[in-house]
């Protein structure tokens, strides 16, 4: 990796959810290819603060790709050009000297902008609150090894459970649909024996809450799967459909 890069950023700036936003252009000089994308923004922000200008707001926390807090649509791609990667794990070596990078927030009516590039994803929490759990209290549960779960099922449930709730699926979907996110949780519990007692009630409650939040519907373009940093599969959505229709027409 050779020298540093000079980049131009076009960043969405929006004071809060009730004002409208616009793109503002910034120079990002002397960017090391070893920086992460967010570190590049840190450097730009530090420059802004030194000039007494309001730094760019973006969500981030763990910076190791697991908390799900970072977001950003970078040149039209949620979490940027690399597959199976969150923005915090994207490195500047994915860009070239002289590039112009357009940075936008997740755009969905169910994800109102908090400020600049940070959005409010509490709709995701409310969907989980509607049924994303097994209704057991603390204590009084059977020994962990009383429930045997075939390894293949446990592994598949795990694949669904790795969702980090970042919202890239919504950002990528042309309909701003949250189905990949919702289906991952429904699937995890639908596969595991622990999830069986509430299986259909859960599917119904979570889907209806998802609709209430104003997410769009799925038109099976599978953009969500392509952009998911944790590579959650659309077979989860198929399973959710099955669970929901079962709940509505057969088991409900």
């Amino acid at each position: 990796m050779s020298g540093n890069m000079n980049l131009t950023l076009k960043v969405w700036r929006q004071k809060n959810s009730s004002t409208s936003g616009k793109f503002v252009t910034y120079k990002a000089p002397e960017i090391s290819p070893d920086m992460s994308f967010l570190e590049m923004l840190d450097v730009v922000n530090e420059g802004l603060v030194k000039k007494s200008e309001d730094p760019i707001q973006f969500d981030h926390d763990c910076r190791e790709g697991i908390c799900g807090m970072c977001s950003l649509v970078i040149n039209g791609e949620p979490h940027g050009p690399k597959r199976a990667t969150t923005t915090c794990q994207l490195h500047m070596r994915s860009f070239n000297d002289g590039d112009t990078i357009v940075i936008e927030p997740w755009r969905a009516s169910a994800f109102p902008v908090v400020k600049d590039l940070a959005v409010d994803r509490s709709s995701f929490d409310r969907i989980q609150q509607a049924g994303g759990y097994v209704s057991i209290g603390t204590g009084g549960v059977p020994d962990a090894n009383e429930i045997a779960i075939p390894k293949v099922i446990a592994d598949e449930a795990f694949n669904s459970a790795t969702c980090i709730g970042c919202g890239a699926c919504v950002a990528a979907c042309k309909n701003a649909s949250a189905m990949l996110f919702v289906s991952a949780k429904i699937s995890q519990y639908a596969m595991l024996p622990q999830g069986q007692p509430e299986r259909y009630a859960r599917a119904e409650a979570m889907v209806l809450q998802m609709d209430d939040e104003g997410f769009g519907g799925c038109t099976n373009t599978y953009a969500c799967e392509a952009q998911c940093p944790k590579e959650i599969k659309v077979t989860n959505i198929a399973r959710m459909n099955r669970e929901f229709f079962n709940a509505e027409f057969i088991k409900g």
Binding site: D34, D125, Q128, G139, D155
Partner: protein
């Protein structure tokens, strides 16, 4: 002398006996109590959910946009439990013993035994919630050996155990939110605690969206706010992890215990430049198959640093496998503190590698030759990918570069056996307290402790306090609330008035450098004294020259960071005081002056087998030291040896 209120009687019966002795709250009265839980990591989410299930009204707070984002989520390796499923000789006592010994005999027997005891319930609880732990082909749970333990007692969920456990606790929390028993406040930062007649009765928070300073009253306040590793600026902690809640409580009278105990994790990806914002940890399981080495001579190291030669160009006799050389029996699997310190020594000698010279090699060439690339990829593929992503180097071809990084803080708010701090009604759980890990935490024990505190300890011990104070409503209109609130507002105003010439991040970086240099992997009295002066100056400068932009009534990252760094600056000084006070080496605290002739940590059990709990005395006043003597009735104190 501080009283930890450890129940009397034989070790194995203490907790059971204590549970019986604790007072209970009548079921119909529980709904009359309001409990405040700050932080929603493993400890906070599990406590909030469990207390709500019991019938208490819970208000839970987190600064992130969702409770699911707490940094517990980043734990990779696993969670220990004395289930003895593999039939390899584990027991509650063995887990207790390993933890006490691993902590270099600086933790409480009573607490650690209880931790080992409830560890088995944690696994049951998590499995019942639907946490997808790794399983054998027969469908039962899989265990692995972790962190050099001689039994396989670690339950894991690929490399994402923390995530899966947190999502389990988050789901339990969500259920209670849905039932209306927990009211969740996200993007809310606790800025102070309110005490009335010496008891904690509420907190002051700032809404991070619109800046509203809010007052919340409750019968008890639980701080589940994690550790303070970010005092070092660079650590494996999340960017937002901070000490503010704990530090504010400390300034209101809660003692801070053993703040100098810091865990440095040996297998992290090295710093690549000044822009670095955080460090990334790779599971220490890598040391099972990787060999740690550095060039034998400074000359060779310099050539590598300049990029003239590569690691693979070095012949076998030009390499120094320093861990294998110094610790023939444990080799690359020595405990975290030993591995970290040795890497630092090698780099201090000038034999470090990489552009910065602050790294040593972790080499898989032999394992790849022995096991084949596929087997190595199956075991460590995701870690290798992560490494490659960050460094742009292929670890299958070139040895990994690693360097130690701050990872966990064993110190924290002092709590008694009931997890109550020195302020009645104020509790600390998880990494925020100091109680169970002594001077060094064993791998896969942090998750265990967070969940033990939240699911299985606090639901019992809190009731005792609540029953004693009674269910009369807490009056948030008392002048104490208004007073603390206006103090918080004044502090915000003061911060916002600072329009100097240096950014908050610059101060944070400066502080981190001082802490890492003088109060990091090894410390000595001279350096510590020097650092104390430097921090004091830095702190004075901060309050004159820092730039804080914007207003309170908006999303204001400058303001948020400034408040946190201001607290880190104060904490840093206390850590140094504590490190200076402890004239011995133990676990994560290594004082150069106190080492064996072979360079190993030299404890002083006669004078320092105590918990150092510091009481705040006022701005710029030395803190007062309270000691809690550690009693060892069940284990014999020995020198750790890994030769």
């Amino acid at each position: 002398m501080l009283d930890a209120k450890i129940p009397s009687g034989p070790l194995a019966e203490k907790w059971n006996k204590h549970k019986f002795d604790l007072k209970l709250v009548n079921p119909s009265n529980k709904r009359k109590y309001d409990i405040i839980v700050v932080g929603t990591g493993l400890a906070g989410a599990s406590a909030a959910a469990s207390l709500a299930e019991l019938g208490y009204n819970v208000k839970a707070f987190c600064f992130q946009d969702s409770p699911r984002r707490a940094h517990s989520i980043a734990a990779q390796g696993g969670i220990n439990a004395a289930k003895n499923y593999p039939n390899d000789g584990d027991s509650v006592f063995r887990l207790f013993y390993d933890t006490i010994k691993g902590g270099d005999y600086r933790s409480r027997e009573g607490n650690v035994y209880r931790l080992a005891e409830v560890s088995v319930n944690i696994i049951d609880q998590c499995v019942a919630q639907g946490v997808p732990f790794a399983r054998e082909y027969g469908g039962l749970l899989d265990n692995r050996s972790f962190g050099g333990a001689q039994v396989s007692r670690t339950f894991y969920a690929r490399g994402q155990t923390g995530q899966q456990l947190l999502l389990g606790a988050y789901s339990a929390l969500n259920r209670q939110i849905n039932l209306g028993k927990v009211k969740m406040y996200t993007r809310s930062e606790m800025l102070d605690v309110v005490t009335v007649d010496g008891k904690a009765q509420g907190i002051i928070t700032r809404n991070l969206i619109d800046g509203t300073v809010e007052t919340h009253a409750g019968h008890a306040v639980l701080l589940c706010t994690g550790g303070y590793g970010n005092v070092f600026y660079l650590s494996t902690n999340a960017m937002g992890s901070n000490v503010t809640a704990a530090w504010r409580a400390h300034k209101r009278g809660a003692y801070m215990a053993n703040p100098c105990y810091t865990q440095i994790h040996p297998t992290c990806i090295p710093v690549s430049g000044d822009h670095q914002s955080k460090l990334t940890l790779m599971s220490e399981s890598l040391r099972n198959d990787g060999r740690v080495w550095a060039p034998k001579t400074v000359e060779l190291a310099q050539k590598i640093q300049k990029g003239e030669i590569k690691a693979i160009d070095l012949k076998e006799d030009e390499r120094d496998y320093f861990l294998e050389r110094k610790y023939p029996s444990f080799g690359n699997l020595v405990p975290r503190d030993v591995a970290s310190r040795n890497a630092k020594q090698v780099c201090d000698e000038g034999r470090g590698v990489g552009k910065t010279g602050l790294a040593v090699y972790l080499d898989f060439a032999d394992s790849i030759k022995r096991l084949g690339e596929d087997t190595v990829a199956a075991k460590y593929g995701n870690l290798f990918d992560m490494y490659r992503q960050i460094t742009d180097e292929n670890p299958y071809k070139l040895p990994m570069r690693i360097y130690p990084a701050v990872h966990y803080t064993m110190g924290g708010l002092w709590v008694d056996y009931n997890l109550m701090t020195s302020i009645p009604g104020l509790y600390a759980l998880g990494e925020a307290n100091f109680s169970d890990h002594g001077a060094n935490r064993l791998g896969a024990s942090a998750l265990m402790q967070g969940l033990a505190d939240g699911y299985f300890v606090i639901p019992y011990t809190l009731g005792d306090y609540l029953a004693k104070i009674g269910p009369a409503p807490i009056d948030a209109n008392r002048p104490e609330f208004a007073k603390v609130k206006s103090e918080v507002e004044d502090r915000i105003k003061t911060l916002l008035s600072l329009r100097g010439n240096k950014t908050v991040d610059e101060y944070h970086r400066d502080l981190g450098k001082i802490m890492w240099e003088y109060c990091g992997m090894s410390r000595d009295a001279e350096g510590l004294k020097k650092a104390k002066g430097m921090i004091s100056e830095l702190r004075a400068d901060f309050w004159k020259n820092v730039i804080v932009l914007g207003e309170n009534e908006e999303v204001n990252q400058s303001l948020e960071k400034a408040g946190r760094v201001a607290d880190f600056l104060e904490l840093g000084e206390l850590m140094i005081d504590d490190a200076l006070n402890r004239d011995e080496s133990c676990g994560g605290h290594f004082r150069e002056e106190y080492q064996t002739p072979e360079g190993e940590a030299l404890r002083n059990d006669d004078d320092f087998a105590y918990v150092a709990a510091w009481a705040y005395q006022g701005d710029n006043m030395p803190e007062e030291l309270h000691k809690e003597q550690l009693e060892f009735e069940n284990v014999k104190l020995t020198q750790r040896s890994y030769k």
